[in-house]
Structures are given as C-alpha cells and as structure tokens.
C-alpha cells in the first residue's frame, strides 16, 4: 500500500472535487482518494501491485487538471 500526493493548479470550482474523486476512486487498485480543495492537492492510497502513481497522474491530467507536483511515499 502506497500513498501519493499530487499537487494541482489552484482549484476553483467545488465540482472538481467530485469529478476527480469519482474517477480516480473507480480505478483498479486505488483504495482511497481525497481531494484537498483548499490545498489544491489529491491524496491517494493505492496498491502498487495493481496500479502505479503515473497512471493516476495520467487520469487526473486527462480530466483537465494538470499535475504540478507528485510525491509518493
């Protein structure tokens, strides 16, 4: 189980939260995801055997939110 934190560009619409949480949450191997609206961050816990941080990165970018920083621990 790994934890990744993605920094995004400033989020301004609260609907972004649902969009990202729903989509990333449905990915295989993602156990938990939380969008920190006020800190412009996405925190995700995932199973590194099933999914990689890069794939989550890609999905968030495809949703229309460029990822500016990524930290996996």
């Amino acid at each position: 189980m790994k934890k990744a934190v993605f920094g995004l560009e400033p989020l301004s619409c609260p609907t972004c939260i649902k969009k990202i949480e729903n989509t990333v949450g449905k990915m295989d191997g993602v156990e938990a995801v939380k969008v920190l609206f006020n800190s412009n961050k996405v925190r995700a816990q995932f199973n590194e055997d099933v999914v990689q941080a890069e794939q989550i990165h890609e999905v968030i970018t495809k949703l229309g939110y460029p990822v500016v920083s990524q930290k996996v621990s």
């Binding site: 400033p10 609260p14 969009k19 006020n38 800190s39 412009n40 621990s73």
Partner: protein
C-alpha cells in the same frame, strides 16, 4: 489547458471585445459581428471542453449551463450577449482563482516555511542534502540564519531559534544541549548540531500542515447543509427553467434564468470563510480542527481550566524549606534521595532543588513505596522517611501538631503546596512548592469575557488554599479543588447538563478524559505533544492563553463572516432570478452581477486573514454563580 493559457485567452477575448466596441462606433456593422463571433468561439471553446470533460464523468457543471446558453445566444443571433457572457465567465473564473488564492495564502505562507535542504555529517564530512534524503539518526548542522529541517535533540552548541512556524510565537527561544528543536524553525543566532529523530512527513511541522489541510476540508454544519441544498437546487433550477420556457416561450429569458441561477456564490460562501479563519489561526499558533469545531467554539459560554500547566506555568519550584529540627540541607538531601524514585512532578521538583544547591545524592532508597496521589515512603540511612500530604501522615499514624498544621496552612494560603517530611514518624520539616501564574493569564481571561464567555471555572487536584488564591488573583467565577480526574469529568458533565456550552483547557495528558467530555477540548501543545495534537479540538501551539482568546474571538468572527456570505449569496440569487422573470435582467448583465457576487463573497472572507483581536477594555469580571 493550464492557467496561463486561460488568462491569455481571457485577455485576447477582452481585446476583441474592445475592438468590437470601436467597430460599432465606426459603423462597421459586418466587421463588428465577425469580431464578436470570433471572441465567442475563442473564449467559448475552453468552456465547452471543460463542460464536455465533466459530462464524460457524468458530472453536471456550470460550464455546461454556460455552453448551452452561449450556443443558444449564437443560434438566435445575439452575438453581443454570447461574446460578453463567455468573456465574463472566463474573467470571473480568473479573478475567482486569484482571490481564492488569497484566502488560502495563510496556509501557503506556512508551507513556504518548509525547509528544502539540510547540512548533514556523512563519513565525517559536512554535506548539503535535500530534506527528503535526511535519515533518522543523522547528525544535522544548523548555522545562523538556516532552517531546521528535522525534529531532534541538540547534541552540541547553542542558539536562539525563531519558532513562529510551530508556535506562532515570534520571540526567539534560546536552546542548548538536550533541548528539542523542530523542523520549520529558524536559527536566529548561534550554531547547533542536532541528532534527527523525526524526518520528512513525521516531523511536527509536517503534521501541523497536514492537520491544517484536513481541518480546512472538514465541513461545518452550515457547509454540509449548503452542499445538500446545492444537490437539490441544481436539478430544481433545470426543471424551473424548462417551466419558464413552457410559459414564456422566450429562449433568451430561459437561458438567462439558467445561467444566473448557478449556485456559484452559494457553494463557495461558507467554505471560503472557514478556510480563511482556520488559516489565520494556524498562523497565530492556534490549530482549530475544522469548520464544525469553529462553529461550536463560537458558541462556547463556559470555560473550564485545569490549574497546573494551564493557568500556571507548570514549572513548580521549591520556595521554602522549613525545619522543626535538624539541618535544612541535610533534610533536603535525604528527602531528595528518597524522591529519586518518584515520577511525580512535585517529587522531581525537590530532587531538582537539591541538585541546584549542589547537594550530592548518593544513597539509594530502600523499601521504597509510592502511595498514588499522596506521597512516598522509603528508607534512607536506616531512617524511615514518610513524605507527602496530610492524608499520608494520617494514614501512617504520624501526629501533625497544631503549630505544624498552622504553618502549613499559612504557606498554602500564600499559594504553595505544602509537603510534609517525617523522619521515623515525626514531622521534621515542610517543603513549600509553588508554581507561577502565567503572565498573560489575567488579560487573556478578560478578553474571553469581553468576547462573550459567561463563566470561567477552575478545576484542580491541588489543595484548596492555593486554588482559592489563584481563583482570587484571576477573578475566576468558581473553583473546585482536590479533585481526581473522574471528578473533573463529572463536573463537566454537570455543566453540560445545565445547558452550558463548555470548553475545557488542560495540559493534555492527565486531563484527557475531561478534555474529551467537553464540547470543545483545548490542549496546550508544548511544541507538539503527540497525544494532545491528535485528540484535542483546538491546540495552542505556544502554550499561551492569549492564543485561546484569539481563537475564540476569531471563531466568532469567522461564523459571522460565513453568515454574511451565505445571506448575501442567497439574496443575490433571489434578486437576480426575480429580475430575470420580470424582464429586467439580461444574459450579460446577469452574468456580470453573478460573477461580482462570487467575488464579493471571497473578498469578504479575505478580511478574516488579517483579523486580529481588538484591544479590549479590562473590565471588572462579573461573578456568576454556578447552578447547584
């Protein structure tokens, strides 16, 4: 699409609009129409893309409403409207993002204090590495002007440190060997070497940031209500707009209705206030753990304090040693030798006093026994020592003579804790131990009263005389002395049952049950005691009571701000919708007012970031009696 592109597109659209105005006055009608259509398409495309992305995720977004409205406007040939709406929407979003950043800036300024690199000893050489590469047990060197990158203990050198990042306190603290230093603090002056014991995400600083981030997401009751409201509201507006079309057969009015009704200001009104409020607290050394806590804190009318470590500094000192026979230092020596086994802070104070006077403590106590809450018994040099309070003396059949008792009471009335020391069953002396009231306590309590706290109560395990003295000096409404932890819990429950909203402040460990029972639990952080930071609702990072009074008035200001915002947002939407239905508000002007209302709500919240408590008049406290 990134933020920079968006602002470029916004600027381009703005220029095109200006050109269109010029063409209009120049009488070039065809050119004007062409420019407007170009502006609409340039600005409309990113909006449509966002709308499509959201739609693909089955999310209903404001972009979708705007896209529908703009396509509709193009369809009926209202090019001025379509261009103005797309421009206003992009420009509004741009301003919104900029001002939202402001409400988040207090947290940002905290994060910016995070250190990036550290000087570490590796193979006997000092090397500069990234903070991520520092490991537990590393020897870290910090020079004047540098940031501490880890939590750890000083192994050599001394320095004065600015700990504002952790405590909000800007007066530097001087630290030397064995003292703890924290990540995020800055060495003002000096040179220290520190062995790292917490690195990366485990440092107090990293955990404060995480707690504040989580706190800003934790929703208040009002926020949750607004969210539920928005869930019902958005589909309701779609249905209503369909009804508007059926009754009026006016596409433009229907589209305007749809766009204007977007709950933009409404959904953002409560969160921006909370975020700004929590950010302000964090920068001033108060951690408020979320919006709902803010709301409860603002409603508090009764504050209960523990005495030791909360109203007082928690650093007791021996103020007097009174002997009835024998030498003072001799008595101090054997009592201190016996107290070596004690974990109690009073016992440790006596040991500290002996060390301070340079008395060597060589003997090991024999047959030592700790009598919980009362004292200890031990044998030193063949003498039986009984050290503790009156109860311990009585329990061991030691007679406390009248003169001894009256001396002890006299000392207690002066604010001391009197400790009886008996040798072989006869009281040989009395140790007076006293703690100081925190210097800021009185003014902080006055500020709490001025902000609306009705009664301030002290609960303590200490003796009645000392408690009364502290109570009188601070003008407390009631004091309860000689309590056990479970008595404190019972007192708080009683207050709650009497209908009071109770905050309990304690030093985190022995008061934990009472803190958990109160509506708001306050812990003194002491630069980050793990338990207190996790369990309390509000943490005072610098252990200063004026931070509490700041938090209280801040909570009131935050809730007031949130109510203003909600009221304003609802009011604007109602007025706009009425205006649309009466045919007074059109697409572009409706959009403009809508965006303005969002901005005003954010700007109102920005005021909170700079909020500092007002200087209050020192009023004579009005005592209020407790309900029996």
């Amino acid at each position: 699409m990134n933020a920079k592109r968006t602002s470029q597109i916004t600027a381009l659209t703005g220029i095109l609009l200006a050109i269109a105005v010029g063409l209009h006055f120049g009488g070039l009608h065809e050119w004007r129409q062409g420019t407007l259509i170009a502006a609409t398409i340039i600005a409309g495309t990113p909006i449509a893309i966002k709308a499509f992305q959201a739609l693909r995720m089955k999310a209903f977004s404001i972009e979708l409403l705007v896209t529908i409205a703009v396509i509709g406007a193009l369809f009926i040939g209202e090019y001025v409207e379509s261009a103005a709406v797309t421009f206003l929407f992009l420009f509004g979003a741009f301003l919104e993002a900029r001002t939202l950043e402001k409400t988040r800036s207090s947290l940002r300024s905290l994060i910016d204090m995070a250190p990036l690199e550290a000087t570490v000893m590796r193979n006997g050489e000092a090397v500069i590495v990234s903070v991520d590469d520092v490991e537990k047990g590393d020897r870290v060197i910090i020079r004047s002007g540098e940031k501490v990158a880890i939590d750890g203990s000083i192994v050599s050198g001394k320095a004065s440190l600015n700990e504002a990042a952790i405590t909000g306190e800007s007066v530097p603290a001087s630290k030397s060997i064995d003292d703890r230093v924290f990540s995020g603090t800055i060495v003002d002056n000096g040179f220290i070497e520190v062995i790292a014991d917490k690195v990366g995400d485990d440092t107090t600083f990293a955990r404060i940031i995480e707690l504040v981030e989580d706190a800003q997401e934790a929703k208040s009751k009002t926020q949750k209500f607004l969210d539920r409201f928005a869930n019902v509201y958005t589909p309701a507006i779609v249905i209503l707009s369909v009804l508007v079309y059926i009754f009026t057969r006016n596409i433009e009015m229907t589209l305007t209705f749809l766009v204007v009704a977007c709950p933009g200001a409404l959904v953002i009104s409560a969160p921006v206030s909370i975020v700004a409020g929590i950010g302000n607290g964090a920068r001033n050394g108060v951690l408020v753990k979320g919006g709902d806590i803010m709301e409860t804190l603002a409603k508090i009318d009764t504050v209960v304090f523990d005495k030791t470590g909360t109203l007082t500094r928690g650093r007791p000192e021996v103020t007097d040693i009174h002997t009835f026979f024998g030498d003072k230092n001799d008595l101090l020596r054997i009592v201190a030798e016996a107290e070596m086994i004690s974990e109690h802070h009073l016992g440790q104070t006596i040991v500290k006093e002996a060390r301070k006077r340079g008395i060597p403590l060589l003997n090991e106590p024999e047959e030592a026994e700790v009598i919980e809450g009362n004292g200890i018994r031990a044998q030193i040099e063949g003498k039986l020592l009984t050290i503790g309070n009156r109860k311990l003396m009585a329990a061991n059949g030691i007679i406390v003579e009248d003169a001894t008792e009256s001396y002890a009471v006299k000392r207690e009335k002066l604010g001391n804790t009197a400790i009886f020391a008996a040798i072989d069953g006869v009281v040989a002396g009395i140790f007076s131990i006293a703690d100081q009231i925190r210097p800021e306590a009185k003014s902080a309590l006055n500020e709490l009263r001025a902000s609306g706290v009705k009664q301030i109560i002290m609960l303590t395990g200490d003796n009645r005389h000392t408690a009364e003295l502290v109570g009188k000096q601070l003008g407390l409404d009631a004091i309860y002395a000689e309590l056990l932890p479970e008595d404190k819990v019972a007192m708080i429950q009683k207050l709650k049952e009497a209908g009071h909203k109770v905050a309990m402040a304690g030093d985190g460990i022995n008061d934990a049950p009472a803190i958990a029972t109160a509506d708001i639990g306050l812990a003194m952080g002491e630069g980050g005691t793990d338990i207190s930071m996790e369990t309390a609702d509000v943490v005072l990072m610098a252990d200063r009571l004026d931070q509490f009074s700041h938090a209280y008035s801040l909570a009131k200001a935050t809730i007031r701000n949130m109510k203003q915002n909600t009221f304003f947002a609802v009011g604007t939407v109602v007025l706009l919708l009425a205006g649309v239905l009466l045919g007074k508000v059109f697409l572009a002007s409706g959009m403009l007012i809508h965006e303005l209302s969002v901005l005003l709500v954010i700007l109102n919240a920005v005021r909170l970031i700079r909020y500092t408590k007002k200087q209050v008049d020192i009023k004579q406290p009005v005592p209020i009696l407790l309900p029996e």
